[in-house]
Symmetry: C2
Subunit: 310 residues, 2 copies
């Protein structure tokens, strides 16, 4: 597998996949979503079905039907979300994407116990990839938006998802840092006590060929020089592929800080449902939405449906 070092390589990577994935876009009438989904259509990286707001979509982008887009009607945003989720359950869509609709509406449909997309015991979490001018490769991170304070079980699920994502992007041996404000565990931070068990599980092969280390701070995770100055040995060697941030406050600060101050380009998905969900926010531009859609399509292409017999 070819390694994806820049988010702009995603499009080519998708075209190398054996089959095109299909995205169900919920209320996708806003300009950025239309541009992102339209680009995927035109580049042949996805099949697109717009669920809900069909008239508004066609008015905003009259050429879409001729470009191959399909449409499913819905009377309300909630109905649109439910119909899009149903398309995924029926095996007729592979990725869910949010348009001009509240995240709560989408998540309610995804989390619906009867008709939703969350298998029992699965953990829904936010996973992003950042392209940072000051870092030599993509840096994945979790969770900036969904789980407030991960339990040990949730953190283990996060490690699993980031390792999977790194692999899908061509990283053979993902290096995952469990982040903390210090390299030492202490009684003041109960969540850090669980990092040792995660490292042990990783060493035991739970996530395949992956290096997991922590506690490390962002600098000792991503800067070999900082490691050396502190005299710390880490199998990651200051070259993390992924940061598992301690909680949503730290995750969100990381996300907002790199996009605002470090000229980061980011893509993000919500993992844990049977298929990836693109839940970008109103403020995200078309590039971010396109990159996020591509990331979701790539992850979907590598996923096994829990409801499928292998």
């Amino acid at each position: 597998m070819i390694m994806i070092q820049h988010l702009s390589d995603l499009s080519a990577a998708l075209r190398r996949q054996p089959a095109r994935q299909r995205v169900a876009v919920i209320c996708g009438r806003d300009a950025a979503t239309l541009e992102a989904a339209g680009r995927a259509l035109d580049e042949g990286t996805a099949e697109v079905v717009f669920v809900g707001d069909g008239e508004a979509v066609r008015r905003a982008a009259p050429g879409l039907p001729a470009r191959g887009a399909r449409f499913v009607d819905a009377a309300t945003p909630a109905e649109a979300a439910a119909r899009a989720v149903a398309l995924v359950r029926e095996g007729r869509a592979d990725v869910l994407m949010k348009g001009l609709v509240g995240s709560d509406v989408v998540l309610r449909a995804v989390l619906d116990k009867q008709a939703g997309l969350l298998a029992p015991g699965r953990v829904l979490t936010h996973l992003a990839a950042a392209q940072l001018p000051a870092y030599g490769k993509l840096l994945f991170f979790t969770d900036a938006a969904v789980i407030p304070y991960p339990t040990q079980e949730q953190r283990e699920a996060q490690v699993g998802y980031v390792v999977d994502a790194c692999r899908r992007f061509g990283v053979e041996q993902p290096r995952v840092a469990l982040v903390h404000c210090s390299e030492k565990a202490s009684d003041k931070f109960p969540h850090v006590a669980g990092y040792a068990a995660i490292k042990a599980a990783a060493a035991g092969g739970r996530w395949g060929n992956a290096l997991v280390d922590g506690p490390l701070d962002v600098r000792t995770a991503c800067d070999a020089g900082a490691l050396a100055v502190k005299g710390i040995e880490s199998p990651l060697g200051g070259r993390a592929d992924a940061l598992v941030l301690p909680d949503i406050e730290a995750g969100n600060v990381f996300y907002k800080t790199i996009t605002l101050f470090a000229r980061a380009r980011t893509a993000a998905v919500v993992q844990g449902a049977t298929r990836p969900v693109v839940l970008t926010s109103r403020g995200d531009d078309a590039t971010c939405k396109y990159d996020s859609l591509c990331m979701a399509l790539l992850l979907a292409a590598g996923a096994t449906r829990p409801d499928e017999n292998p």
Copy 2:
């Protein structure tokens, strides 16, 4: 008062002060500390006394006595820390600076109930100033290193310290953001419930002419465009002078991320003792140590000693 927009303006600001402040450097024989303290001596921005490691200091920088440095002997690092603290208590030093000695050793001397520098009921907290190429002014933030999960009382103290610091840097009406991963309070985050009381206290004049708002995320605190997209009204207008981060995990992620990925230049002090303490770490370079010393000297010049009669 002239506004200090860059950390490199600190030196000139200190020379405009009516009196030179005096720094007691604990075990300052490492190259970066020697360079920082020596520069303050040579620029006339501080008087410097090296406490402990005198022989090693004079060997590493033989010219120091001729440049005006003074020396106090001590047999051990702990004794050096205690003697430096005593100099401050006796009114013979205004700032404490850590050299090649553990932070725990310095803090133990500062926190000593009998002979230390912490008045009863005072809160010790970390306060830093960042110069970010992507932001038009200095951005203060707290706390990246000392208080794990601030209580309401500690957070109020943090607001007071950052407002004070902004004023000392010439910001007439400091804009302080209480940071959270969302602009909405929720039951899942008990600490955010207290933000409203802090805003009310600020509006009531508790910290003088200052604007305090939150919850805001890093982007809505520091980017007017992000505010507009989300349709949020904030008196800060997306131009925060200071971020009060929710806890040490978020604070440390911010600190490490801006220095590693956003080319930030930073200065940091520990506030809350009777005088500022410079507690930079081994990995910090001479510029960071010098900037931090200058910041401490400026804050000390504006402080009233709790043990002095006004």
